[in-house]
Amino acid sequence: MVENRFWLNLLSHLVLGLGVLLVAFPIWIAFVASTHSAQGLVSGTIPFWPGDLFLENFSQVLSGGNDGSVGVSAMLMLFNSLVMALGISIGKIVISLMAAYAIVFFRFPLRSVCFWIIFMTLMLPVEVRIMPTFQVVANLNLLDSYTGLTLPLIASATATFLLRQFYMTIPPELVEAARVDGAGPVKFLFDILLPLSRTNLAALFVIMFIYGWNQYLWPLLVTTDEHYYTIVMGIQRMLAVGDDEVAWNIVMPTTLLAMLPPVGVVLMMQRLFVKGLVETEK
């Protein structure tokens, strides 16, 4: 703060407060909606304060025995989402750890070709290549399986790229010192590189976890068996009821549940996440 102006300060707080309200408003509405009965929501006057059906609605959603659901409980969908998110984030980190390691520290034939093949994927989001990828997965008989859900999404180079950037900053003296001390490539990776990149890996994990959890189109396509539904796509299935009235008092608790885990991860690991996001992407 250069000068201390009371009004300027007040204005800042006012604008920020408004911003927070703007950002939080949808959540409040969703929360209110999840505490009312279906009739209470469609009967004309929209409630602004929570009703008394909070526990009822949530237990109904979690157990899955209700009219608005897709046939499986939110519990199972949450579990599927968790498997998918963890599979994608861990798979990506492990794979790109190895790939970045190889690219940065080893010289082997066709190295730059491999490099470019991997980094081409940086440019293309899943949505663009969705149709052909679907055919490939179908040919491999991976529809309706956890492998089919996770594996194709691991094929992206973001994590590899970030790790490569980080590895390049490691001074060659360190590598030489390790070699002089008799550490082989594997020992170097586990005893020196991994401890050094711990914070980067954690930040990466947060970002990848959110990425995996929030996948929408892909699970929508590869799952026809509702036992593999993830929660984000399950919501879409709940909305697609045709001419029927959407059971908002069921949809909204599900929505809240769907965003609770990733939001929780972000808030808990806020410092790491912000650091990882801002520093690595620049």
């Binding site: 300027l8 949808p26 180079a157």
Partner: protein, 277 residues
């Protein structure tokens, strides 16, 4: 190394290759025979007025999302940079929408603007605006823009804030001594110094609006009413999986791939070099 190569080859290079190959083919309605037609699919795309309409929608959509979310988050970031006490609290309260899935964000806003049950639709009704995005294409487009921009605010906010905090305080102090007020300081010092961040975010936001918003559009409007919220990515999906026009869809994919490639090149080459102070 090997695992990533394998995964990349199977799930990326193979599909991409197939997309290119398929874009040169025409399949009959039952998938029984295919015919090699060279660039006919591409010619069809580029003579189709509907495709241009989609392109136009995408441009409006991305411009709307980018401007709205970047404007709001720049304002918030500048304010958060000013505040001495409680900046961390505001940061925490503002960053969490990053974690909300696009489709979920779409559903939240859909609920609020829902013509029969939505709070905001009800409010708009009381001031005389009839809101029904199931019928009105412009309103539907506005709805998806708002939902997409809302989700992106926190991302932009973080980057703007980081950019602002990197500006040395001494510059502000010097300008203040020279008699420049807060508004003037913003436009002559802060904004120019922030331009690398701004350009970076510009590219990121356009890419986001192009591709990552599929979930919002699919969950909220399904491209309708009519074609009013059909973006390029939605079109690829719809033509391929719903319309089963594999060749056309693949050709569109290829066009999109080229587009993303161009944007990436712009980001890496042009922006990073030219906008430096």
């Amino acid at each position: 190394m090997a695992p990533q190569l394998l995964v990349t080859l199977v799930f990326f290079i193979w599909p991409a290759g197939q997309a290119v190959w398929q874009s040169f083919l025409v399949e009959d309605a039952f998938g029984l025979s295919t015919e090699f037609v060279w660039f006919e699919n591409y010619a069809q795309i580029f003579t189709d007025s509907r495709y241009y309409h989609t392109l136009w929608t995408t441009i409006i959509f991305s411009a709307g999302v980018t401007l709205m979310s970047m404007g709001v988050s720049l304002l918030l970031a500048v304010m958060a940079d000013q505040v001495v006490r409680g900046a961390q609290v505001y940061k925490t309260l503002l960053i969490w929408p990053y974690a909300v899935a696009p489709a979920v964000a779409g559903v939240l806003w859909l609920f609020m603007f829902h013509p029969t049950v939505g709070v905001l639709a009800y409010m708009l009704d009381t001031i005389g605006i009839e809101w029904n995005h199931f019928l009105d294409g412009d309103q539907a487009l506005l709805l998806v823009i708002i939902a997409a921009a809302w989700k992106q605010i926190s991302y932009n906010f973080l980057f703007f804030l980081a950019g602002l905090q990197a500006i040395p305080q001494s510059l502000h102090e010097a300008a203040a001594i020279d008699g420049a007020g807060p508004g003037r300081r913003f436009f002559t010092i802060t904004f120019p110094l922030l331009s690398p961040t701004t350009f970076f975010l510009l590219v990121v936001n356009v890419v986001y609006a192009f591709f990552d918003t599929f979930g919002i559009i699919h969950a909220v409007t399904k491209g309708g009413p009519g074609d009013s919220t059909r973006t390029l990515v939605y079109n690829v999906f719809d033509d391929g999986f719903v319309g089963l026009d594999l060749g056309g869809s693949a050709a569109q994919s290829v066009v999109l791939m080229v587009l993303v490639g161009l944007m990436t090149v712009v980001q890496f080459r042009f922006v990073e070099r030219k906008v430096q102070y």
